[in-house]
């Protein structure tokens, strides 16, 4: 373990009025994030406009969803995003171990999300609901499973970053890799912020 000296004040790069040329992390991840956001835009628009042609079906079927599970998962992803933002704030103060703990907390919120999803899907599959049940459930299962795959990928990235953080691999001067992974994790949260009201709430 490499020991880093904590620095007293947050080394806030946003202090003052200087605007950065590029977003935090590797530029390549931002190209990937924009591609992912575009894919979700198409899926959300497809859901909204397909609903237009099947209003009664979508409104009826939406009532069969567990909005409590959707709410709980939203709280988990927001908390996960906050944990990772705190990890970045910690590493900017050279607090490597504390940063690793925040990353681990972020990973655990992802585990919680998947557990809730497991029970939510389990309840639906137990009563014979599947992709072919109707158009609403085709969208519900496809959209939420596609998103869940992104949660799993985000957790895998956080796990790699967490291991490196535990080994003292980041510092206030060098945390570019952590910011790269954090940016992807926030994207997963951002997408769910729209998915939750669209699929579970609005009718």
């Amino acid at each position: 373990m490499i020991a880093h000296t904590p620095i007293p004040a947050p080394a806030d790069p946003h202090k003052g009025h200087k605007h950065h040329e590029y977003p935090p992390g590797d530029l390549a991840i931002w190209v990937f994030i924009l591609a992912e956001l575009s894919a979700f835009f198409v899926l959300f628009a497809a859901y909204a406009f397909t609903r237009l042609k099947h209003l009664d079906l979508f409104n009826e079927m939406q009532k069969t969803l567990d909005s409590d599970a959707g709410m709980l998962n939203t709280l988990l992803l927001i908390t996960g995003s906050w944990c990772v933002a705190r990890a970045i704030a910690a590493i900017k103060r050279n607090l490597c171990r504390q940063s690793a703990h925040w990353l681990l907390a972020g990973i655990l919120t992802g585990v919680g999300f998947l557990i809730v999803k497991y029970f939510e899907y389990g309840a639906k599959f137990a009563v014979g609901i599947n992709l072919d049940t109707n158009l609403f459930y085709t969208f519900y299962i496809a959209l939420t499973m596609f998103h869940a795959m992104h949660v799993v990928l985000g957790m895998a990235i956080l796990l790699i970053i967490w291991k490196k953080a535990m080994a003292g691999g980041y510092s206030a001067q060098d945390h570019h890799g952590m910011e790269t992974g954090a940016s992807y994790w926030h994207m997963v949260d951002l997408v769910w912020i729209i998915l939750f009201p669209l699929v579970y709430i609005m009718r």
Binding site: E21, P24, A45, I194, P197, L198, I201
Partner: protein, 86 residues
């Protein structure tokens, strides 16, 4: 970004989520509530983009691309719901 500020943003996002859930659970949805839910989502997305993704002080092109995605997506959803009222 101070940790206190991040904590405040987290609490605001949690409260906004509970408000969205309460609207869906307890109220008969109408066009005003759909607009309210979309506005809450826009504010939540804005906070995540500015303060968790840390794009607040990044040049407008990058911030604009992600914010533009958020607003365009919500606008398309609003359009589809509005057409459904006709």
């Amino acid at each position: 970004m101070s940790t206190h500020f991040l904590n405040v943003i987290w609490v605001a996002l949690m409260v906004a989520t509970l408000l969205t859930w309460f609207i869906g659970k307890s109220m008969a949805m109408n066009v005003s509530l759909v607009v309210a839910v979309l506005i809450i989502s826009a504010v939540k997305g804005w906070l995540i983009i500015y303060d968790f993704m840390a794009l607040r002080r990044v040049k407008v092109l990058w911030r604009g691309l992600v914010l533009g995605w958020l607003l365009l997506t919500l606008a398309v959803i609003l359009l589809a719901y509005w057409l459904g009222l006709k």
